[in-house]
């Protein structure tokens, strides 16, 4: 192999490395900044310190900001609520659409498809009034429900696909064995599509955990309804001199569950986002 050929073989890797450079640099700075007194560009200034992480022990930003643990719990509850409801409702509906014969099945399926492609953010203004009418504006439940609703078409479509792959004979066998449709669903079919459920659950949890726009739009202020994203953003916006160290530490803190999924469920993630990713931005 000539030197020229060798160089050519390196080109693809060079492009790939350059393309992921911004996000790598961003992460590098995030970690650096949270453990250093301060940073200038990518250079640390001062000493290694844990003071930016003191928010774990006491509310760091003062002035009425709730404790990080309270916000974390709140975020977790919203994400967990979203995960459970999205998975449960999608699994019910996906099963019915894949397996049951009822009038309106085809219509509902096409509707689900159209809603799946339809950008739900355009409905935020209308949703605002629905939440007010239900008395759910500025509540965690309201935020959770809106996110569940917007996630529904994708969840149903994904689950339907998994149900489509289950053997009809197995379901027939269970019906003959004496199970009702509900028992078939719960005892026979759901256990066989656990990977699909895991995929949807991870997807729903991450989007619930990361959510900013919906919680920000449907809650007011930095009260206890806030998620970590809202908390973090409010803090950047309101303080005059941004305490970058603490901000990055909170940001890293929020990244923990995402990092866990990223490290341990790589294959699943790439699969989910092939069907699930629909945001253009």
């Amino acid at each position: 192999m000539t030197v020229r050929q060798r160089l050519w073989r390196g080109v693809p890797y060079l492009i790939l490395v350059l393309s992921v450079l911004p996000i790598i640099v961003g992460y590098f700075w995030l970690v650096l900044s949270s453990f250093m007194t301060r940073t200038e560009g990518l250079l640390p200034v001062g000493n290694l310190t844990l003071k930016h992480w003191s928010f774990l022990l006491e509310p760091p930003f003062g002035r009425g900001y709730p404790s990080i643990w309270r916000v974390t719990l709140n975020t977790f509850l919203i994400a967990a609520f979203m995960t459970i409801v999205v998975v449960l409702v999608s699994a019910l509906t996906g099963y019915a659409l894949s397996r049951l014969n009822f009038p309106g099945r085809k219509g509902f399926l096409s509707l689900t498809l159209i809603l799946h492609a339809f950008p739900s953010v355009t409905l935020l203004i209308g949703t605002f009034f629905v939440l007010r009418a239900l008395n759910l504006y500025n509540t965690s439940l309201g935020v959770g429900l809106v996110m569940v609703g917007f996630e529904m078409p994708f969840g149903i479509w994904l689950m339907k696909g998994f149900f489509d792959g289950v053997s009809w004979d197995m379901e027939r066998a269970a019906l003959i064995d004496g199970a009702s449709r509900l028992q078939v669903w719960w005892q026979v079919i759901l256990p066989t599509i656990k990977p699909g459920i895991a995929a949807l659950a991870i997807f729903a949890f991450i989007s619930g955990w990361n959510a900013w726009l919906i919680p920000k739009t449907f809650t007011i202020g930095a009260g206890q309804q806030a998620t970590l994203s809202v908390y973090l953003q409010n803090f950047q916006g309101e303080t005059v001199a941004v305490d970058w160290g603490s901000v990055t530490a909170v940001g890293l803190f929020q990244l923990i569950p995402v990092a866990i999924f990223f490290i341990f469920t790589q294959d699943l993630l790439l699969n989910i986002y092939s069907g699930g990713a629909k945001g253009g931005a």
Binding site: M170, R172, L175, T192
Partner: protein
């Protein structure tokens, strides 16, 4: 339990899955639904199981209409080609699942499942998952699961198709013996005519959603009422050739180019009225022997015990079972002797037998 199907029909839009099936199955009888894929045999079976709702017609169990009874209340057991075991449950959980759904106490469940498993010879595999079993063992679990609730009707949907040849043979015998011992009315769907012939008391041959014939195996073999049945039943399949049957000097002769055969009078007289008819003759009734009809050996397929020899007489193709020691060779001239005692005649238009209708 007796099963009666009356004008049983299943349609999906314009597509007709089963078309006016009429048949009755006696108590304890073993009936096979035989036909090529897509002939409607599984559709009919699933209607009997209650999985498909009939578009028309009636299903009766012991005289009572069960059309709208759900599968779980029909007291049936079913075995599937894919076994349809629950992959997340152990063998014990699979077998005892029907009992669990009936809310049977745990101890009784355990005993009954163990009894059935012992009977099936899988009593020591109770804690395994289906994925850890061989195909034959999985089929036994499926059979055990269908038997554990002591059904009054057993349905088999091509249960042996996924097994290798040797295992298929032994399972065939086992299912037959089990059915006889337990005396449970059974319907067995298969596309394999050997399976149907060897196992069933009666065979329902189906084609394009319609019932072509419903008779005992030997009757189907000896007295096929349609061309389809004659061609489908028997292995290797019956030879068909277009002939003209004439009566000369009180004798009946079937003629085609290069062929001139004397046929029994009682069969020949039924075919003589028509012009050209289809004659059927089984490979075992044709032999390679000197002084017969002249032909050329086109291809020889050794089957082990016999050679299946394809002989061409002009454009006519005749399959013959020959003794391998004859040493038949491709391209050689040969001579065929026809034993016309069992010869069949069919109307070329209606494809109905001219002899048995």
């Amino acid at each position: 339990m007796k099963v009666e199907l009356e004008n049983l029909t299943k349609r999906w839009g314009k597509f007709v899955g089963a078309d006016g099936i009429n048949l009755a199955i006696g108590d304890g009888e073993f009936v096979a639904f035989l036909g090529p894929s897509g002939c409607g045999k599984t559709t009919t079976l699933l209607m009997v199981a209650g999985i498909y709702k009939p578009s028309e017609g009636t299903i009766r169990f012991d005289g009572k209409v069960v059309n709208t009874v759900s599968p779980k209340d029909r007291n049936i057991g079913m075995v599937f080609q894919s076994y349809a075991l629950y992959p997340h449950m152990t063998v014990y959980q699979n077998i005892s699942y029907p009992l669990k759904l009936r809310k049977m106490p745990k101890r009784e469940r355990r005993e009954r499942a163990q009894d059935v498993a012992d009977m099936m010879g899988i009593g020591d595999l109770m804690d395994r998952k289906p994925a850890m079993l061989s195909g034959g063992q999985q089929q036994r679990v499926a059979l055990g699961r269908s038997l554990v609730k002591e059904p009054q009707l057993l349905l088999f949907d091509e249960p042996l198709s996924n097994l290798d040849a040797r295992l298929r043979l032994s399972m065939r015998g086992e299912i037959k013996r089990l059915q006889m011992e337990l005396g449970i009315t059974s319907i067995y769907v298969t596309h394999d005519q050997v399976e149907a012939m060897t196992m069933a008391d009666r065979i329902a041959v189906m084609k394009d959603g319609k019932l072509e014939a419903y008779a005992k195996p030997d009757e189907l073999y000896d007295r096929p009422r349609t061309l389809f049945v004659a061609g489908f039943v028997g292995n290797p399949p019956m030879n068909f050739l277009k002939v003209e049957v004439t009566r000369e000097d009180g004798e009946y002769r079937a003629r085609a180019e290069g062929i001139d055969l004397l046929v029994p009078a009682e069969r020949g007289e039924k075919a003589v009225i028509k012009g050209e008819v289809i004659m059927g003759i089984r490979p075992e009734d044709v032999s390679i022997a000197d002084g017969g009809t002249q032909g050329e050996i086109y291809v020889v397929e050794p089957l082990g015990r016999d050679d299946l020899v394809d002989v061409r007489i002009g454009d006519i193709e005749i399959h013959v079972l020959a003794n391998p020691t004859l040493g038949t060779k491709m391209g050689e001239r040969t001579s065929l002797k026809f034993d016309t005692k069992e010869v069949q005649f069919f109307d070329p238009e209606t494809e109905q037998s001219l002899i048995w209708n």
